[in-house]
Symmetry: C2
């Protein structure tokens, strides 16, 4: 049995107990979370989110890529969210590589160089600040008065706001 088969068994159990079939698509808390994909960080558990509460956007680093802007724009323009929480974290893989190093590694392995930015960073707090700034400066995200950035500590489970 592969790892995925076990997860699919869990999904069948989830469906058996499911009683949330009438939720609207617009998030009840009018909030979008942008967080790193890291396995140790589970935004719904950290923030106590229930089904229907908030959009959760995740990528390597929790960075404000063009695709994160796309998702946030759709979240606000089409589905009425008004607040944004950015969560990056200690011991992030994106602190352990460089754009050139990773692009070079891929080019070496495949003969092809990625056309997308790697989005590595070397100063966690500064990257959170930069992420909040990029969201606030985007013309495509209309509500930017409530955008807050945080660092999640994977060793203590604590969330610290970056101001």
């Amino acid at each position: 049995m592969s790892g995925v088969d076990e997860l699919l068994g869990n999904a069948r159990a989830y469906a058996r107990d499911f009683d949330k079939g009438d939720l609207p698509s617009a998030p009840a808390r009018k909030t979008a979370v942008l967080a790193c994909m890291d396995a140790r960080l589970i935004p719904s558990r950290l923030f106590g989110l229930q089904e229907g509460d908030a959009h959760v956007i995740r990528n390597a680093g929790g960075v404000v890529s063009d695709d994160a802007i796309r998702s946030l724009a759709i979240s606000q323009h089409m589905l009425g969210t008004e607040e944004i929480i950015v969560v990056q974290h200690t011991d992030c893989g994106m602190l352990k590589l460089t754009d050139e190093g990773f692009a070079g590694k891929l080019e070496e392995a495949t003969g092809e160089r990625p056309q997308w930015p790697v989005h590595s960073f070397d100063d966690l707090d500064e990257n959170v600040r930069e992420s909040v700034r990029r969201i606030k400066e985007s013309p495509f995200i209309p509500r930017t008065d409530r955008v807050r950035g945080f660092v999640y500590d994977v060793e203590t489970g604590e969330l610290r706001e970056v101001t």
Copy 2:
């Protein structure tokens, strides 16, 4: 109290009970999930994922954007994942808009046209198949023998594999 303040209270409670400070960064289940950001879908709950189990990448639609490829490439090359699960869902917002419609709406609202693709779609099953295909065809994702695509039904809680 804004919605976010309540979520931050939940995060403080999470930290108080936290006992998972020694997890490695590499996902224990060697799996990456790519899913839609939709509020009604909580991948960790659906699949029974614990902290440390799997990467979770999410965007509007759960589509294979360049940024999803970037995240999956980092997941496999740097953090040893080997399986990919794609989850898109019924009643998705991306079924209710068109690329031209949304780009035009943004242009009208801001005077600027987004340079990124909107990634709307009109056939859910076909879009799941196309997503799996795009992952398998990417030169930057080395392990593509276990990539599976699913539709989550937001009314029943059931997950259906698309083959």
